[in-house]
């Protein structure tokens, strides 16, 4: 019977399944960070059990660290304790830690792929909803809570129910100045913040096949913002070209065997999905969010929606959102004055994102009213960008080129957008106060963030490419 990639990965990882019980589901790789792991290690300690597969776990530090140059000095005592606790737990339980200044530290979803740990056909979990990122490689990767982090540590498995499947076909081609981020925001705007609840998505279509690995990671990353637990791209030559020669990827004869195996995960001809969604990209303009959840997005040339034209169930949320973001219904968003600009996060903190930003910022100045944080996703991304001289472009433009971490994506560390300030951000969530209490977030591509930072107001990046 013809199977899709989601069913293939699922079937291969079911250890056992009985009527009336969830499946015992095998996890191949667990990624860990300081915020969602301490209580899981405690559980093992209390029960006196070891980590079942330390060679299939890896940890790094990303959420609660500062991104100042002297980031080792953590002033927040609780954050410091959390980091020290992770170091101690990794030591005690024999789990490799990609620590600060190892050359390998970074946002957990940036370092997994760049280390070559994320590979096709695998199951990957992490105590973080953006684990979906790793689906770009043809892996089934999803976020779990801390209790399940403990289950994987103890047994290498979790209990799961078989997900429903959805295929999203990205048709056509993206115009210059329009990016994978815009495609993801367009999908979320179309199906809604809970549109894919209970489903795993496969991203297909001609535009998906042409996307770079960085672009695919951006799309997979945002899967959770429409409620999907995971979002997968079938592995292809673009996947293999990225993976080859990465530190933990196979080499030599093992590579050949691996690649042949990975090929087997491509969705069979004639395989079906529970849902199919078509997204036409030919006429897509850059997207920007106007509200306080990721589905409240629009193309930049459009006007903020009139509340009376929205479905009844959406009106109250939209009213509250506009009251919070201070935008007016029926009016353009382009030209709205901004105070902050942020490029970074597990969504858009990779080398390709900073290359785009540099192309736009070269020889330009950040507007006087704007504070611009550029935060590489990892130490490796930072080094690569500096080797290419991008940091000089950023600094000359007046941006703040910082140390790697989650930074102001989530308002957990020192990097916060002050209350009442408006930020255009390459991150993934515009929830109320997400970037700091009282902060206002507009989600967009790194290109739109860069162009807007120069102009001091929300601006369309397409004109830069014309």
């Amino acid at each position: 019977m013809a199977k899709n990639i989601i069913e293939k990965i699922w079937d291969l990882h079911v250890v056992s399944e009985k009527e009336g019980q969830p499946a015992v589901f095998a996890i191949d790789l667990q990624l860990m960070h300081e915020v969602t792991s301490a209580q899981a290690f405690d559980e093992l300690r209390q029960r006196g059990i070891k980590v079942a597969e330390p060679q299939h776990c890896v940890a790094t530090i990303d959420h609660s660290i500062p991104t100042r140059k002297d980031r080792e000095n953590i002033y927040d005592e609780k954050a410091k304790t959390q980091i020290v606790t992770l170091r101690n737990n990794c030591e005690e339980f024999g789990i490799p830690l990609l620590d600060l200044n190892s050359g390998k530290q970074g946002i957990v979803h940036v370092v997994g792929p760049e280390m070559g740990l994320t590979q096709p056909g695998m199951t990957i979990v992490c105590g973080d909803s953006h684990t979906a990122t790793h689906g770009a490689f043809g892996a089934m990767a999803f976020g779990v809570g801390t209790t399940e982090v403990g289950h994987v540590l103890a047994t290498g498995c979790i209990l799961q129910k078989k997900p429903k499947t959805m295929r999203v076909n990205f048709n056509g081609a993206l115009k210059p100045g329009v990016y994978a981020k815009d495609a993801a925001l367009a999908l979320i705007a179309k199906i809604g913040i809970g549109g894919a609840n209970g489903h795993v998505i496969e991203y297909a279509g001609e535009a998906a096949r042409k996307m770079s690995m960085e672009a695919r990671m951006t799309v997979s990353n945002m899967s959770i913002e429409c409620g999907a637990r995971a979002g997968i791209f079938a592995p292809d030559q673009i996947t293999y070209d990225y993976l080859k020669n990465k530190p933990h990827a196979p080499s030599g004869e093992e590579w050949d065997r691996a690649a042949q195996y990975w090929d087997s995960f491509v969705t069979d001809e004639g395989a079906t999905f529970d849902l199919e969604v078509e997204i036409d990209l030919d006429r897509l303009d850059p997207m920007i969010t106007w509200g306080t959840n990721p589905e409240q997005g629009m193309m930049i040339g459009e006007n903020v929606p009139n509340i009376s034209e929205l479905p009844k169930t959406h009106r109250l949320v939209a009213e509250k959102a506009l009251a919070y973001t201070g935008l007016k219904q029926g009016e353009p968003i382009e030209g709205t004055k901004i105070d902050w600009a942020f490029i970074g996060s597990c969504t858009n903190g990779r080398i390709e994102d900073f290359r785009v930003a540099a192309e736009i910022l070269k020889g330009k100045k950040i507007a006087e009213n704007v504070t611009c944080y550029l935060v590489p996703g990892s130490e490796a991304v930072k080094k690569q960008a500096e080797d290419e001289g991008l940091d000089k472009i950023f600094i000359e433009a007046g941006a703040d080129w910082r140390m790697p971490g989650c930074s102001m994506c989530l308002g957990m560390n020192d990097d916060k957008v002050p209350g009442g300030m408006r930020c255009i951000s390459s991150s993934n969530r515009n929830f109320v106060g997400r970037q700091g209490t009282g902060s206002i977030t507009h989600l967009a591509s790194p290109a739109m963030v860069a162009v807007s930072a120069i102009e001091g107001k929300i601006a369309n990046p397409v004109k830069f490419f014309n």
């Binding site: 015992v24 330390p54 801390t146 065997r257 969530r429 997400r434 209490t437």
Partner: protein
């Protein structure tokens, strides 16, 4: 986990859809390394910004059942959201639907999530406003009983039900299958091409 069988308790209404876990507990309150102490920061920003927010009102102080609109618990995977809700004394959340990760996290901690039709919930949200609305949630019978004795059946996964009724930990279920898992993993390792070491 805390076992749960049946309660009759006051409802606190939260007439919002898409309640995200950043709203439930903002990231700045996640730096603790324990599972305790999150209750006081449940919905902290909404409590600070809106004096009439339900969790600021004395009439709901002893509520143990939260009723909200669709897609409750979306966004971040933080299990702290379930810990915060339980920490504030809530044992049941009733909504037309829940986000996946929050749904899983709640089950692990004995926070009972009940799905009912949006229409029924809209009625409950109005009736609960006076702060004097007590209902019964019976997990064993899978029913919600309103003050006028109207009763609604709800679906509940049988495995989860067994765990929550008895306070069983899923980890014990998994550990009991260690041998089977070990054999499976030995085979699986032949097609894994990495080590984190």
């Amino acid at each position: 986990m805390q076992a749960f069988t049946k309660i009759t308790a006051k409802v606190i209404p939260l007439p919002l859809k898409d309640v995200d876990t950043d709203m439930i507990i903002p990231a700045q309150y996640l730096t603790s390394i324990s599972k305790e102490g999150y209750g006081e920061n449940l919905f902290i920003r909404l409590k600070q910004e809106q004096p009439d927010f339900p969790f600021n009102q004395d009439k709901f102080a002893d509520a143990q059942i939260l009723v909200a609109k669709s897609n409750f618990g979306c966004g971040s995977s933080r299990e702290h959201a379930a810990w915060a809700i339980l920490g504030a004394g809530i044992r049941v959340v009733i909504a037309p639907g829940f986000a996946d990760i929050f749904f899983n996290n709640s089950a692990k901690n004995g926070l009972v999530l009940v799905e009912l039709d949006a229409e029924v919930i809209n009625g409950m949200l109005v009736d609960a406003e006076n702060g004097n609305y007590e209902i019964t949630v019976d997990l064993e019978a899978q029913t919600v009983i309103l003050p006028d004795n109207t009763s609604y059946k709800f679906n509940f996964d049988p495995f989860r039900k067994e765990c929550i009724l008895n306070g069983y930990e899923e980890l014990d279920f998994l550990l009991a299958k260690s041998d089977e898992i070990g054999q499976f993993k030995e085979e699986r390792d032949k097609n894994l091409f990495f080590s984190t070491k």
